[in-house]
Symmetry: C2
Subunit: 221 residues, 2 copies
């Protein structure tokens, strides 16, 4: 499999974790989002949405796109170990938690959004960082609101086995790391993120562990 990704892409990170949890290997091809590689014609042929990740399952096949759709595909084609519980209500809860991070939080901090803030409103680095921090904190509040009060929460988001919600919660933690948000006010989110970090499939997917990552990087390299 070929995974088009970028070292600091939070959505690529989710697919990386998913592949690792399923015990699958993919060759990662870098698409530099900060340089704008995603807008080149050659990449638009891979993914017309001009975004990573894109996963080519076998040579010549069309690329799968959108991290959450790729993770569902992984679950359907490689059921073990499962990302989702067996009962419909549990699956809805796990998907809902996952989407709080992946759909309600992460899209507000991607390069194209940060760039529009700068261009349209003259937002400087600090103002952009504050914007991103605000929405990461909102996402953490929403997750904590569920996790701290619901009986299904265990060692991980849903019981004592990691899954789709943990992949996304841990990607929110990576966002928080990059944009310097301290998760102390959200103790259950923080605890589960720390538990995930003990597992190599999670830890190895973190942006700072990727080959393209600088030893020290600012939020806006």
């Amino acid at each position: 499999m070929i995974l088009y990704g970028f070292w600091r892409s939070i959505a690529t990170m989710r697919v990386r974790t998913g592949l690792a949890l399923k015990g699958l290997a993919a060759d990662e091809l870098p698409v530099d989002l900060l340089r704008g590689d995603q807008f080149e014609e050659s990449f638009r042929a891979v993914n017309p949405a001009r975004a990573v990740p894109a996963l080519v399952p076998v040579e010549g096949a069309p690329a799968l796109f959108q991290s959450m759709a790729i993770l569902e595909w992984l679950e359907e084609t490689h059921p073990q170990p499962p990302f989702l519980p067996h009962d419909a209500a549990g699956r809805a809860r796990v998907r809902g938690l996952a989407l709080i991070a992946a759909a309600d939080t992460h899209p507000l901090s991607v390069p194209r959004v940060r760039s529009e803030l700068a261009q349209r409103f003259g937002a400087d680095e600090r103002a952009v960082q504050n914007w991103v921090q605000h929405f990461i904190m909102e996402g953490a509040t929403s997750l904590e609101g569920h996790l701290c009060r619901e009986a299904e929460t265990g060692e991980f988001c849903h019981g004592n086995v990691s899954g789709l919600a943990d992949i996304c919660l841990f990607s929110l933690k990576a966002q928080a790391d990059m944009f310097e948000v301290d998760l102390t006010p959200w103790p259950t989110v923080r605890r589960i993120a720390a538990r995930c970090a003990e597992i190599e499939a999670f830890a190895s997917s973190h942006p700072t562990r990727q080959p393209g990552a600088p030893h020290r990087h600012s939020v806006f390299p």
Copy 2:
């Protein structure tokens, strides 16, 4: 079933369409997002993420949350008629298209984002509308890039039966209607949206058809 929603909520609209396609009825309880009803304690008990939609499947059960998780739950608990094709690659394509609208486009136009633009950057109504229009056009471009060139595209996004991707594409069309984006430059998106509008399950879910909708409304009532 009880659906907590709001007449102009694009995410509520998706669940409304899904319920109607499955032939299910839910009583809709309004949560006025513009007045801030979602932040009240009574609603936080229903959905700690302070967002609609939230679907209570049976009295006393916890609310399902996040429109895409609710739609997957509907598909699993009420398989007929299906929202998703049977093959894993097709399911990944349909979910990917759906998420371009639901995760990459829609979250950038919700009230909490518009409100932050106004508060942080002094964006006026016109600037906020331009921001939303930009991301709707980006979403339409990404969808069109897939739909216009892929053999799976038919009368609807994936073949000749409507499904999850069409629910989300039609919700992007409703966003475009509300924020005054003309979809003419994206002919396949426009054609499929028009085809959906011929079906009552889609048409009846549109914000302008809801009891709470004013006869004439501005984008910022």
